[in-house]
């Protein structure tokens, strides 16, 4: 942005401070693994935009759902692309989220002070699965129907509350139009709202704590290292003795 226009807006909004804190923050030496979070976010953005426009044509009633999806795929210009992007970005999101989680575990980045970042990330992962469960029913074809049937059977095996849970998910005794409309409502209203909140919190925490450094072996300092090691050993031995005394 031109400096003068940027200044004019900055005086009135203070955008530069946030901008600098987010994009010009000093970061430690990082690896490609550190980009998995941003890749996950990108998949979310693709899903939001394609999902938003898919609702223009999609109708969540048993008589229309399948035909409206066929209309999107075969008739609407670039419909195949938008639907394809939504489909594949959904798969990519699951893979990227898990890869991101594995990176965080390997680097131990879930530890103090980033516990809340970790917890919000776990909640987001569960939310991604919930999006997948509800979204895969919407095309309302044989595969969608029977895959959902099986998943609901799995929920029904939960001890004590299984029956209740299956009915809650189906909106009744069996998979029906009620299931389709409640899955749609969850997929396009409830879950996106939760997603906005959790992603906002997750990113806020990332900006607050900064990027975690790649862990590596502590460099030994010359000179005092041996003496320090001996002191530590002595202290440890003393502790052990105290513990046995107790």
């Amino acid at each position: 942005m031109g400096t003068r226009v940027g200044d004019w807006i900055d005086q009135r909004s203070g955008w530069r401070e946030s901008w600098n804190r987010i994009f010009l923050a000093r970061i430690p030496n990082i690896s490609w693994g550190h980009t998995l979070g941003a890749a996950t976010l990108m998949a979310v953005v693709i899903l939001l935009i394609t999902g938003l426009v898919l609702t223009v044509y999609y109708v969540s009633s048993p008589s229309d759902a399948h035909q409206s999806v066929q209309y999107i795929t075969n008739v609407v210009p670039l419909g195949w692309l938008i639907r394809g992007l939504h489909h594949w970005a959904a798969s990519a999101l699951v893979i990227l989220s898990v890869a991101h989680l594995v990176r965080v575990v390997i680097h131990g980045a879930y530890k103090y002070p980033r516990e809340f970042t970790w917890f919000s990330g776990i909640a987001l992962l569960l939310l991604v699965f919930a999006f997948g469960l509800t979204g895969s029913l919407l095309p309302w074809d044989q595969r969608a129907y029977w895959a959902t049937e099986v998943r609901i059977e799995v929920f029904a095996t939960v001890p004590f509350i299984g029956d209740w849970l299956a009915r809650f998910l189906q909106g009744g005794e069996q998979l029906s139009s009620l299931t389709l409309s409640r899955f749609y409502a969850a997929h396009v209203w409830l879950f996106p709202l939760l997603l906005f909140g959790l992603v906002a919190a997750h990113l806020r925490l990332v900006v607050r704590h900064g990027v975690s450094a790649t862990p590596k072996e502590e460099p030994r300092r010359r000179g005092d290292s041996r003496r320090r090691e001996e002191a530590l050993k002595r202290e440890e031995a003393l502790k052990r003795e105290e513990a046995s005394l107790l």
Partner: protein, 162 residues
């Protein structure tokens, strides 16, 4: 010629901006095409048979109606099509919609609508007056009555919405 030197930092910032803009366009343009596309497609109509050629009187237009199945999205909707058909010789036909071009009320044929103009069409909603060819005579009418395409095949008259 001397090139201005671009610091590494600024170069990278510009690259990030360019790639980001490219990604936004890659996603935004198809999304816009997807939403706007079908709204601007003109499908036209199918040929609708209205009856045998000899059934149409020469002296005054005859109001014909037919049910047309129109595909809207993935739903086939039945629509009523009503047209005035007039002919001077039983060979060349003119088909006009009976919907007033002002606000879409239905017009009716009147034998003598105006002393000067002779027969024509009258819209009761806002006193719109068309002549026998559907041209504007009086009232708030913006354009003449809509014409339909006509053809005769094996003694049958067909019309098609433009």
């Amino acid at each position: 010629m001397k090139m201005r030197e671009l610091p590494r930092r600024e170069f990278l910032a510009r690259m990030v901006g360019a790639v980001g803009g490219g990604l936004a366009a890659l996603l935004g343009i198809p999304a816009a095409v997807f939403v706007i596309g079908p709204s601007q497609q003109r499908t036209g109509g199918d040929w609708v048979p209205l009856g045998a050629v000899e059934e149409f009187p020469l002296e005054k237009p005859r109001l014909m109606s037919a049910t047309v199945a129109k595909q809207q999205g993935w739903v086939i909707e039945e629509q009523e099509l009503s047209v005035f058909v007039s002919t001077e010789d039983g060979v060349d036909f003119v088909a006009m919609s009976d919907r007033c071009t002002h606000l879409g009320c239905r017009v009716r044929y009147v034998d003598e609508i105006d002393e000067a103009a002779g027969p024509g069409f009258f819209c009761p909603c806002h006193n719109g007056v068309f002549d026998a060819e559907g041209g504007i005579v009086a009232g708030p009418i913006p354009t003449p009555l809509d014409r339909l395409e006509t053809k005769v095949e094996e003694g049958q008259l067909f019309v098609r919405e433009l």
